[in-house]
């Protein structure tokens, strides 16, 4: 037991240490590396808290996708650093922000430490209601049954983010493709890696989505892996970003939230209410909706990284 105590304590100290290092780092690339390491350590923390689903999401999104997004944003910022930097916060503002952050942290810690023993929980009642869904993984069941509305809106937010990124491109390039991600002549090692890992990664992403009905995994985690495969293929210049005017691309992007809304609207006609699943078909319907969400996520994340259209729509 003491071994696990020591492990947890050193993990916690390491996470706080890396967080501080990331915030205090003056160098952008160093800060991003710190942030990615922070995400991976946090994933281990979630494993220690027996939440493998959250750990997978944290590793894929917090560590991987966000890291790539910040690096891409950073290299874009560097190329337009001709203008004067804006006003930075002065000492008092920084002190106020730090005090506020510390206050929030202390309040959260106090709440955690002052919880009665045993902590109040609705978990048994919640788990009891999930049996009808027929899913072995309670996390997937909770996300799709109790929190279906949140899950649906989450995907809509992703699509809105892509629309936001596209809309900052110049008008004359509307409908065209974003700039290529990698350099013109990519390293052979990178091309080899992309060719080897992309088929395997697609398989692993689909597997993580498929097992999510009964084991840790999910559409978000699987979608993030599929997205990573598309990103590495684009960086290795095996395929350039698609035209944003492409109908197939747009359909893939909106398919997740759209199918979810259609299924939700069908609820009242099948004897239930908005967002209710037809009795007897709960699991197949949930898997059907999740398959389209997987597609949306796998399309949205690479498009966020590829950026706004910067090429003429007609070659």
């Amino acid at each position: 037991m003491t071994f696990y105590r020591a492990l947890d304590l050193s993990l916690a100290l390491l996470v706080v240490g890396i967080a501080a290092w990331t915030v205090l780092s003056r160098d952008l690339f160093g800060a991003v590396v710190g942030y990615v390491a922070y995400g991976l350590l946090l994933a281990i923390v979630w494993v220690r808290l027996l939440a493998p689903d959250v750990a997978l999401t944290e590793a894929a999104i917090g560590g991987g996708a966000t890291g790539v997004l910040i690096i891409a944003a950073g290299s874009r910022l560097r190329s337009m650093q001709t203008s004067e930097p804006g006003d930075t916060a002065n000492g008092i503002q920084k002190a106020l922000a730090a005090a506020l952050s510390a206050l929030v942290a202390i309040a959260l810690a106090a709440v955690m430490l002052l919880l009665p023993e045993p902590a109040p929980t609705l978990a048994p009642q919640a788990a009891g209601g999930l049996e009808a869904a027929g899913l072995g993984n309670p996390v997937t069941a909770t996300l799709m049954v109790y929190r279906g509305f949140d899950t649906m809106l989450e995907k809509a937010v992703l699509v809105l983010a892509v629309v936001g990124v596209w809309s900052i491109g110049p008008d004359r390039f509307w409908g065209g493709a974003p700039a290529p991600l990698g350099r013109t002549r990519p390293k052979r090692a990178l091309v080899f890696l992309a060719q080897m890992i992309a088929p395997l990664g697609v398989l692993i992403g689909l597997h993580i989505f498929w097992v999510s009905a009964d084991e840790p995994g999910g559409a978000f985690q699987g979608g993030a892996i599929l997205a990573a495969m598309w990103i590495i293929v684009m960086i290795a210049r095996l395929a350039d970003p698609p035209r944003v005017g492409s109908r197939a691309l747009r359909l893939a992007l909106v398919s997740g939230p759209a199918v979810f809304v259609i299924v939700a609207l069908l609820g009242p006609f099948l004897g239930g209410s908005f967002l209710s699943y037809p009795p007897g078909f709960v699991k197949p319907v949930i898997l059907f909706v999740e398959a389209f969400m997987l597609l949306s996520i796998a399309a949205a994340i690479p498009l966020l990284i590829a950026g706004p259209p910067l090429r003429s729509p007609r070659p």
Binding site: A189, F192, L193, M196, I197, L200
Partner: protein, 97 residues
């Protein structure tokens, strides 16, 4: 039989942990980037390989064991490719100097 497997696991994982430790010490102590890269890839390759080897008898079934081996293969692939790319970037920087 179980005792022999347990001892095998223990030895292999301990050896793997030793390679990770050695790799980390080398990463902190080696003077230049190329030798640090060399140390890092050894830790990835042998350290993880030995840990996976030690975990194989403890996996639930052949499918889980295969997943562990695939995991090692994936790390080999990516760490090898990344080491190549960092090495190339270092050489470019040397040439520019």
């Amino acid at each position: 039989m179980t005792l022999a497997l347990d001892i095998f696991s223990l030895l292999a994982i301990a050896a793997g942990a030793f390679f990770f430790l050695a790799g980390t010490v080398a990463l902190l102590r080696f003077p230049d980037s190329l030798s640090r890269l060399h140390a890092l890839t050894k830790a990835d390759n042998l350290g993880l390989g030995l840990v996976v080897l030690g975990l194989l008898p403890r996996a639930d079934g052949p499918l889980a064991a295969m997943k562990l081996v695939i995991l090692w293969g994936l790390v080999q692939l990516s760490s090898g490719a990344v080491a190549q790319m960092i090495g190339a970037a270092l050489r470019r920087r040397e040439a520019a100097r």
